[in-house]
Symmetry: none
Subunit: 210 residues, 4 copies
Amino acid sequence: MNAQTALKPAKAAPKQVLDAAASCFMEKGYAGTSLDDVARHMGATKGRIYHYFSSKSELLHAVRKRAMEINFAAITPAFDSEEGPVEKLRAMARAHALNMMREQAYQQALFDRLNLHITGGNRADRDVWREEFMSDRRAFEDMFRAVLAEGQASGAFKIRTLSYALHAVITMLNSTISWYRPRADEPENTQAQIADELVNMTLGALGVNT
Amino acid sequence: MNAQTALKPAKAAPKQVLDAAASCFMEKGYAGTSLDDVARHMGATKGRIYHYFSSKSELLHAVRKRAMEINFAAITPAFDSEEGPVEKLRAMARAHALNMMREQAYQQALFDRLNLHITGGNRADRDVWREEFMSDRRAFEDMFRAVLAEGQASGAFKIRTLSYALHAVITMLNSTISWYRPRADEPENTQAQIADELVNMTLGALGVNT
Amino acid sequence: MNAQTALKPAKAAPKQVLDAAASCFMEKGYAGTSLDDVARHMGATKGRIYHYFSSKSELLHAVRKRAMEINFAAITPAFDSEEGPVEKLRAMARAHALNMMREQAYQQALFDRLNLHITGGNRADRDVWREEFMSDRRAFEDMFRAVLAEGQASGAFKIRTLSYALHAVITMLNSTISWYRPRADEPENTQAQIADELVNMTLGALGVNT
Amino acid sequence: MNAQTALKPAKAAPKQVLDAAASCFMEKGYAGTSLDDVARHMGATKGRIYHYFSSKSELLHAVRKRAMEINFAAITPAFDSEEGPVEKLRAMARAHALNMMREQAYQQALFDRLNLHITGGNRADRDVWREEFMSDRRAFEDMFRAVLAEGQASGAFKIRTLSYALHAVITMLNSTISWYRPRADEPENTQAQIADELVNMTLGALGVNT
DNA sequence: AATGAATGAGGATTCATTCAT
DNA sequence: TATGAATGAATCCTCATTCAT
């Protein structure tokens, strides 16, 4: 109908469902969200959801897939830059930290007891979803892992066990999920400031003095 | 924390229920766990649960309460020591990190979308529980906050915004919840080693070179 | 039966729908078949069905109507012949038995808990359909009844209670519906042989030695 | 509580559910019956059903199992007798024909598009159920098959293809399912008379003149 | 003539909770 | 102290049907 619809005709309706789902999952968790909740959030009925997604699990899967896409999109530019490991990590970390604060709904779905909730659909679907998800996550982590490894090799980072450091870095950057919520009345640069401090602490954890 | 708790850490039967519940909540999340699951885990029926806890929410509340007790017990000795902020934080952090790996079941319950699941019981109960839980958590965080503040004042820690640093520290120490699972065949000192590295990175994040 | 039916046995599109419906009803029963199933069977969507039939019930009704037409067409030539009751019954029975094996899809719809499934549409429609169906069936049975009565009168058949014999004869001839399924690799005359044996047993049941 | 319950304590409640289910399945078919229907039939709620049967399919399976038990019980005495094939078949046939009229509810479930409705439960359950059912049915048919074979060998029966004759015999004896319904005002010996005539026709179909 | 989107009613299933024992 | 039976509300999902195009 409108320009937006015209530009992404195939995506408008499903995206509306995805957004509503992500939002509800954030508020109440996956298991605590009923499809009626999601439908109500859109001002529609369950039928609309089932028209696009054949089960609650598939909906979760789609939300997670999109969340991963968002995450990759956020850090890829920095990852592709020509910087050295310290500056590259700083840029990636900053982008990721900001991304976590901006796209909370999708990110929460990504971290909501993820391993467990894939119960619907048939066994084959579940396995495919899980595999796809694990593989995406591994690919994402590998981007950080590569930079950490490069900095470890060059002596820029002080890292004892790479995988522990990787987990620590990512956990720290993700941490806002559990304690930060955007507020209408906060200063404009709040998110930037939080991101900067998290990034500095992250680098500090790797032995980089700033 | 109080005398009663310390002296009678819960009779056998209720503790069996709590353990079973914590274990199930860890595996499937609170919302994904049915009371039948918990009962089956004990080799009993739901009646046993209802004999000691009057609702599912209350059970969750009890599991969380016990988790908090465990957490306080873990860091209190270090907190009460006479060390300076750096060594005191190191000791507390190490104790907490180890605690997170040893008591996963109870800790997972503590972090499972905590704010949301308190739906049963009457309004008054809910408010009491939430208040009690928030207050416990604040008290726990305050122990870390005090040490951070002391180190910030003395110049031992480089901290810009105290609350951000506090969140970062605790998140990092909690992080094993999401990625570490004890394995029968791992070297005996695995948990100690992980704890040590996490503590070092934590101190590094606060500008302490090690 | 009437000229219209004989001359325009249904246009192509509606017949395609009917065939698909009959096939699905055979496979999964009426209640177990969704209109999506039928549509998928045609490689189309539900709209096509609704274009020709205004409800699922009406579709069933149409399938049954066509099944009855097929049945009448099968036995009418033999019925109209000048033979005596034994030979006439033999010819009708053989034709009907063969017909049941050849047109299984439509025949199954006819015998699928027929009385029950007429739920859609308005009351008037339902009553009309039921009445029409019962009347068709009675007319069909009456053709057999007439021959049995003639043979009973002439002493050619040993029949105690006519209606019981009628039910027995028709049930026996219909029986292949429950146990016979055409197979690609069966000898060409399999159906003919089954029909012959069923007919002989039917006549035997009426006291005709063959 | 009462004597009946005391005598069959483990069975009373489940049997009530089974009877209600059989009755509903007869009236509306399996797919057309909702568990609410069954519950209402008992003056209870669905919970009662699920307390004893874990799915609708399992309920159907249980009804069928019981129906087969009834069928075996009906013909076994005659089968175990010392009679020759003609008299043995006559006795078995009579018992089975009467059984079909007396236990319509359970028998209908047995013949209601049986192959199709096993959709619930997991694949393993389904396969077990189907296998168990097919095996029971085969065992039941084999009892008739043995008598037919004996009579065929001795020349007492004129049978061309044994399996066709077997199907015909059983179909004929089952036929009352489709056309007979007990009525309060029918003469007392109606069922006996129908059974006798069906048996005579069955024997006639096998070339035995009576 | 046909499609895709959307709805709403109904149906299978789960589960916290109550109760008699 | 604990159990088994039963309930009813909630939840996932299906499907006949309508409608705009």
